[in-house]
């Protein structure tokens, strides 16, 4: 339904915002661009919307080539038949809810009869559960309601593609959770092709059919949420999607059963999942999610993948407690059940579940960032 190829966009100031991006979104698919601030997500989306003119590349929606640097075509925004939800919602404050939603039908080429208009607007509003507020002036809405108006306005004319730029990021934490669920259900129900932009990994994982992790204007990894989280292909993805313990290591024995192998790490030898083709002696990196580490007291029955350490810091997070545990010279992040809490300075044992110890080839750009476990 939507195809973007070799997209390049450099801003006037010389900022290379997008450096050759390719992706395709199938009909009805929910596709997310996920990446840190400034990585070019919004730029890509705006190119698709026709609000920014790319320097190179091609963009097709359905069968229309809406942009092509070679063909020198560039269809203006208002002819692309897309819907867009903006980060600021961009609800027009001088209109009522009804008029906001009716606007695309009234003032674009797709005019409809008056009675038909009313029906369609009310249908769109009931879709987002706002039918009761149709006549309220837009400024008198809460954030979540405004967000829903923005959605209804983008959906009412059944655009071929729905573009969403961090639609939830201006909402309260609580409301964000609620709207996330609502949005997912709505999009599922309508089976609408969506391109979503966010820097919030939880959002991306929860909503998407497929996620593209972006950094510095390029796509680093593309895949289903599960793939992205559980099998990051490099440290950037691993780090960006959730918290991570990251160890340097060397493969000691690559011949264990079911793709498992033994790796020497600064916290000891760990049985890990090895990638295909990993050889003994390879320098690798090991990615272990905090929830892949069990924390307990006393001596374990099984000594495999178990190390000892001291609790440095414990953060109660409601549904879990996050610990920073010192193991030798390393700080390990551990996430565990919130019902019990290990006090600071307590001596504890950590068990690294072997199948959650992921080994990835060493890449050059693996910067150690501040919120990951790592060297003290």
């Amino acid at each position: 339904m939507l195809r973007v190829s070799s997209l390049v966009k450099t801003y006037d100031g010389g900022v290379q915002a997008v450096r050759g991006i390719d992706f395709e979104v199938a009909e009805g698919e929910f596709y997310t661009l996920l990446g840190p601030s400034g990585c070019g997500k919004t730029t890509t989306l705006r190119c698709v919307a026709g609000l920014e003119k790319p320097d190179q590349g091609e963009i097709s929606i359905g069968n229309d080539k809406v942009f092509s640097s070679e063909g020198n075509t560039s269809m203006p925004s208002h002819k692309r038949d897309i819907g867009m939800v903006f980060q600021s919602y961009a609800i027009w404050p001088h209109m009522t809810v009804f008029n906001n939603v009716a606007f695309p039908l009234r003032h674009s080429k797709r005019k409809v009869s008056k009675s038909n208009l009313r029906d369609r607007v009310m249908k769109a509003l009931s879709l987002v559960q706002l039918d009761a507020l149709a006549d309220r002036p837009a400024p008198f809405l809460s954030g979540g309601q405004q967000q829903r108006v923005a959605l209804a306005r983008a959906l009412i004319y059944e655009p071929r593609v729905l573009l969403l730029d961090e639609p939830l990021s201006n909402l309260d934490a609580k409301l964000r959770d609620e709207m996330r669920v609502e949005l997912k259900q709505l999009v599922n129900r309508l089976h609408i092709t969506s391109l979503y932009v966010t820097h919030d990994q939880a959002e991306a994982l929860a909503l998407s059919d497929r996620v593209a992790v972006m950094n510095q204007g390029t796509i680093i990894q593309e895949g289903r949420p599960r793939e992205i989280y559980l099998q990051p292909r490099d440290t950037f993805t691993a780090n960006f999607i959730g918290k991570t313990n990251l160890f340097e290591g060397k493969v000691v024995d690559g011949a264990q059963a079911e793709g498992m192998g033994l790796v020497e790490t600064p916290v000891g030898r760990l049985i890990c999942r090895l990638p295909n083709g990993a050889q003994k002696g390879d320098n690798v990196q090991i990615v272990i999610r905090p929830e892949g580490v069990d924390i307990f007291q006393g001596n374990p029955d099984n000594k495999i993948n178990v190390v000892e350490g001291n609790v440095i810091f414990a953060t109660f997070q409601g549904d879990s407690v996050e610990y920073q545990v010192r193991v030798g010279d390393y700080l390990c992040l551990v996430k565990s059940d919130s019902l019990h809490e290990f006090a600071k300075e307590r001596k504890v044992s950590l068990h690294f579940t072997p199948e959650r110890c992921l080994v990835i080839p060493k890449t050059k750009n693996s910067v150690i960032e501040s919120n990951q476990g790592g060297l003290l």
Binding site: A49, G50, L51, K53, G62, N63, D64, K65, V66, T73, M75, P76, S77, H78, K79, R80, D81, I82, G83, M84, F86, Q87, S88, A90, I91, W92, P93, H94, F103, P104, H107, S108, K109, R110, P137, A138, P139, F140, G143, A150, R153, A154, Y157, P159, L163, N170
Partner: protein
């Protein structure tokens, strides 16, 4: 699916015209149109000015070769340096005064809980409508060392030998001119303040800085780009104006550049020398271009100063505590000078056969006759009708054009936005008299193809040319505050650029639009140089009527019409404020 068919139509080559029309980028077309209109409005007078300055007498059909004589005459005048120095002092002083006052009032009205803020807002407009001549003379009646009432009173109270003040001084001149320009700079500064996140000031208080310290160290520097813009605009206004200097600077023999222009163009003992006036105007134009360039340099990063709007932004009112009364006192004193005194003089003048210092004796002559006979003033009805037409057309035209230009300056991804900015600003630097002659020449020559010479339209064009600079300043400021996603949301959902501009952009900028509209309207009513030069019996307007009444010594009638203009002004201001505040209420809630 309309888009799909369009593209097919294009690719198959069917309906070439339809395809071509589809391809036209509306915003680009409008850009070219606006650019053309601005260039048309501005290049006419500008080219005339330049050409005439090298070809003296060209305008009246003298066959003249290229010569630098006008420049030599203007710049080798033995008092030229004196003029330049005086003009600069006058310009800086009056601008500093009016922008300073404008900022103080903007702060008081927008940020504090001073009582009567709404009245203040409305009253600030009043000085614009009082005819400049009357405004200036009222200061002679007030502050002249010989007959100034205020001086007299002070001399009695403090038993002084000599009058404590004199209006005949650079200070007096600066004071009167500054008073007159305060309303406009107030509007500019209020817009700047409105766009500033109040938590920046609050951060000052919580770190231990007091109200005044915060105002000085935080509020003022943050407003700097806005202050600078207003400063430049008013500096040019001041050095180009002659209304007040004619009554206050001329008598004391104070030399300004505009004095020279006045003598060159308003002489009856020889032919007017527009070329000399033009040569001097080049100073104004260079000053404008230079200042605008400086402004661009100094505010390169001003977009970074713009507010982080959205959540957490709410207008905050500073509790002045006891200082509220001091603020009201200050306001009352200011208004006494800027509005009440001149207005009283105007009313006083409308009751008496001629202007005289207020006294009980004079009261004997007082009569309301002239009010009753106002309908007898020849052409009064016609002038009223024309004035309303001119005012509405000029104000609306100015603001529409300014809004479009502002869009391209602020949003346009089209190169040339900056040029458009300059095009909109430069006419400001061309003295009205030069604009008027330029227009006469242009439209006399064009008369066969475009017969607007002698019609009301030439007046409208003249006023429009001069007003566009203010309108565009106001709208550019406002446009910076409008989140562009509001417009993009409309385009994305299938609404074309032009419709979006009117349905969304302009609609949301109504408060600024109304302010700019009001100011342009009031100035179009009040300023007379251009109408007096361009009018015909059919296109007479109030300002001309007043001028002619004045010339015929019908001072009383002139004052009556002046009072009527003030009444119209207040009506406009109140109606305008009503609409603006309604639109504002809706918007501050976002």
């Amino acid at each position: 699916m309309t888009a799909a068919t369009d593209v097919q139509g294009l690719s198959t080559g069917n309906g070439l015209l339809a395809g071509y029309l589809e391809k036209i980028n509306v915003s680009r077309v409008v850009f070219v149109l606006v650019m053309a209109v601005l260039a048309y409005l501005m290049l006419g007078p500008l080219l005339f000015l330049l050409w005439d300055s090298f070809h003296p007498g060209w305008e009246i059909g003298d066959e003249t070769a290229f010569t630098l004589s006008s420049y030599i005459k203007a710049y080798t005048d033995k008092r030229f340096v004196e003029m330049l120095v005086n003009t600069t002092i006058f310009g800086l002083g009056a601008t500093a005064f009016s922008v300073g006052m404008g900022s103080i009032f903007a702060w008081l009205v927008e940020r504090t809980n001073m009582p009567f803020r709404n009245v203040t807002y409305a009253l600030l407009f009043a000085p614009i409508a009082i005819p400049g001549l009357v405004f200036a003379i009222s200061y002679i009646l007030l502050l002249s060392p010989d007959i100034g009432v205020l001086n007299k009173i002070l001399m009695v109270i403090f038993s002084l030998e000599e009058a404590p003040f004199t209006v005949y001084s650079m200070t007096g001149l600066i004071f009167v001119e500054g008073l007159r320009l305060t309303p406009g700079s107030f509007l500019m500064m209020a817009a700047v303040l409105k766009s500033m996140d109040p938590s920046l000031e609050e951060a000052g208080y919580t770190t231990g800085a007091g109200i005044l310290q915060t105002a000085r160290l935080i509020t003022a520097p943050l407003m700097l780009p806005g202050i600078l813009a207003a400063f430049i605009y008013y500096f040019i206004t001041v050095i180009e104006s002659f209304e007040i200097p004619a009554i206050i600077a001329l008598p004391m023999g104070l030399q300004l550049l505009t004095t020279k222009i006045f003598f060159a163009t308003h002489t009856t003992t020889q032919m007017p020398q527009y070329s000399v006036a033009a040569a001097i105007s080049v100073v104004f134009i260079l000053a404008s271009a230079g200042l605008v360039y400086l402004y661009t340099l100094s505010t390169k990063h001003s977009e970074r100063y713009t507010t982080i709007t959205g959540k957490g932004y709410r207008p905050r009112i500073i509790d002045l505590g006891k200082w509220r009364y001091a603020a009201v006192g200050f306001t009352v004193i200011f208004f006494s000078f800027s509005v009440i005194f001149p207005l009283l003089v105007l009313i006083w003048g409308s009751l008496l056969p001629y202007l005289q210092p207020p006294s009980l004796e004079a009261l004997e002559f007082a009569t309301f006759d002239s009010y009753l006979k106002v309908g007898n003033i020849p052409k009064f009805g016609l002038a009223m009708k024309n004035t309303l037409f001119v005012t509405f057309t000029v104000a609306t035209g100015t603001m529409l054009l300014s809004s479009l230009a502002a869009w391209f300056v602020v949003r346009g991804r089209i190169r040339g936005g900056r040029i458009m900015d300059l095009l909109a600003f430069l006419p400001h630097a061309i003295p009205s008299i030069v604009v008027a002659i330029g227009l006469i020449i242009f439209y006399v020559k064009m008369h066969r193809s475009l017969p607007i010479y002698g019609s009301i339209w030439i007046i409208i064009i003249g006023l429009l040319t001069k007003r566009i600079s203010y309108g565009s300043r106001i709208m550019i400021g406002a446009m910076f505050q409008l989140h562009k996603e509001l417009e993009e949301a409309s385009e994305v959902c299938g609404v074309g650029w032009l419709k979006t501009f009117f349905l969304v952009t302009l609609r949301l900028l109504i408060p600024a639009f109304v302010n700019g509209w009001l100011y342009s309207a009031l100035l179009s009513i009040a300023l007379f140089t251009i109408p007096v030069m361009l009018y015909t019996p059919k296109s007479i307007v109030f300002s001309v009527l007043i001028w002619n009444l004045w010339e015929n010594a019908k001072v009383q009638e002139a004052c009556v019409v002046g009072v009527l203009m003030v009444v119209i002004t207040f009506t406009l201001v109140f109606v305008g404020q009503y609409f603006a505040s309604r639109a504002r209420v809706q918007q501050t809630l976002t």
